[in-house]
Point group: C2
Chain length 296, copies 2
């Protein structure tokens, strides 16, 4: 089974399908999300232990951000062939630094001897009013925080052995402040962990809407614009590669003014009826945006 | 570094040292615990996918039980070389059955292609009054729920290819009901995941006390008594092997009557001053109980 089929199979039996599990408790909502990262696919050569620790935490906190939540704590299960004190120290420094930057704490974990370096981070959060994937309405604006393609650019820089710049790009700050500021304004929200295109399809499936995106409005990271040799590559890195962890959200037009005061973001399109599908305006042409992206 | 050194190193920098992380929220306490299991050390040949799913959930819920908590939900990160529908179905059936038996829900997760079958389960729970490892007082009674050595017996049965009996033994029911019933009575509590001996040492370190255990009072599982060839082997399987997931707790003597009404357990000794160490009365002799057990 491919990962997408696995998820479909699991979705039929489990209440999954958003960035976090949502558990109501005492007039609020607890948010719980878990992510597995491992050497072969998530920790390429040249990524420092500090960056690994940072990123392991950041990936899960990004899911809390995507629900408009506030983090309450993080636990990490760490498996490794051996535990060297230097590695462990740097990894922990990175994980703790990310927690501090996000005003939360690493509260526990588990360690285990494992054939491959494997890190599973679970973040717990809270949201008075969680923002779901399923709330987008026709005529809402489509918006993204930050800019796209940073991880794609970072992996390219790693290959070119520009390790410092690459690691800096990889240590993204989860958009918790933005997520919380938008929680009462956005109609739907998701983080762009699978690429903009795939994330639009996930919002579309949950909200039963289509999207019309304006290619000229999409904010690409400077590094992507510098590294991409042509437009195709720009789109590949910025729209399909994924692992960006910016927030993609929809906004009722009447909330635009207040949202602008709440945080920075870019309007990249608008919501259209479902039967129009997901298209991108590219110069004079309107092309369908293919449903593909990074499969984790 | 050995696992014990790793934990010591981490303890110096993180607020760890109990069965769960405890996060205060709105006049209650959230409990969060994560456990990594993987093919090489936790899923021996002959363990069915159903038992794996059950056990992955049960191990984490046992930590919630050990704090006197009520489970609120479980998430699972599952990595595997490939996902076959039959395996996934049976694994999920087992995980869901354990959740149902424990009156909680599997609320989400993550899947990932991984070189080795790896399962990380995180359980979220709640306790008005968590029971810590550090509350044992001199003269308290030392007690355990259930009987000891089931996993050791099960692994022996697996080797003897008595798969049905082995799998049944491996699907233990986390002691949530007992943990909650004892939460207002016990002075300290832990689950016996590392073996009775090691768990006594962990309680001892946290509570700064010693223990005097009566070997004749220790409840060994029938299967262990059947399989062990002599007393040494009985002790090896029942005191040191671990992975038992019974609750070990201390109880002020004046709470004994009420505790007896709350749930079933066996009194196996009493708390003594720290300088007396941890000893076991064995016939006419009082021998020191060595500090060794299963290292995960």
């Amino acid at each position: 089974m491919r990962e997408r089929d696995v998820i479909q199979f699991l979705s039929a039996r489990l209440p999954i399908g958003d960035d976090c599990a949502v558990i109501p408790l005492k007039k609020t909502h607890l948010l719980l999300t878990t992510d597995m990262l491992h050497r072969q696919t998530d920790f390429p050569e040249g990524m420092t232990p500090y960056t690994m620790g940072w990123r392991a935490v950041a990936v899960s906190l990004s899911d809390i951000a995507a629900m408009g939540g506030k983090p309450l704590g993080v636990v990490i299960a760490l498996g490794a062939p051996q535990f060297e004190q230097k590695f462990l120290e740097e990894f922990l420094d990175g994980a703790l630094a990310c927690c501090t930057a996000c005003q939360t704490k690493l509260v526990g974990g588990d360690t285990d001897r494992h054939s491959e370096l494997t890190v599973v981070t679970t973040a717990l959060g809270e949201a008075q009013k969680p923002v779901w994937r399923g709330g987008a309405r026709v005529e809402d604006l489509v918006c993204v925080t930050g800019d796209l393609g940073r991880t794609a650019a970072a992996l390219r820089l790693l290959k070119e052995r520009d390790f410092d710049r690459a690691n800096e790009l990889l240590r993204f700050l989860p958009r918790l402040r933005e997520g919380q500021a938008l929680a009462h304004l956005a109609s739907s929200m998701i983080d762009i962990s699978d690429g903009l295109a795939r994330s639009l399809y996930l919002l579309s499936e949950a909200s039963h809407v289509g999207f019309r995106i304006d290619a000229a409005a999409i904010p690409f990271a400077l590094e992507v614009e510098e590294l991409a040799r042509d437009q195709d590559e720009l789109f590949e890195m910025g729209l399909f590669f994924g692992e960006d962890f910016e927030l993609l959200f929809t906004l009722p037009q009447e909330e635009l003014f207040e949202a602008r005061r709440a945080c920075e973001f870019t309007v990249i399109g608008r919501v259209v009826p479902e039967h129009e599908g997901i298209t991108m305006q590219l110069g004079p042409e309107r092309i369908p945006l293919p449903d593909r992206g990074y499969e984790h």
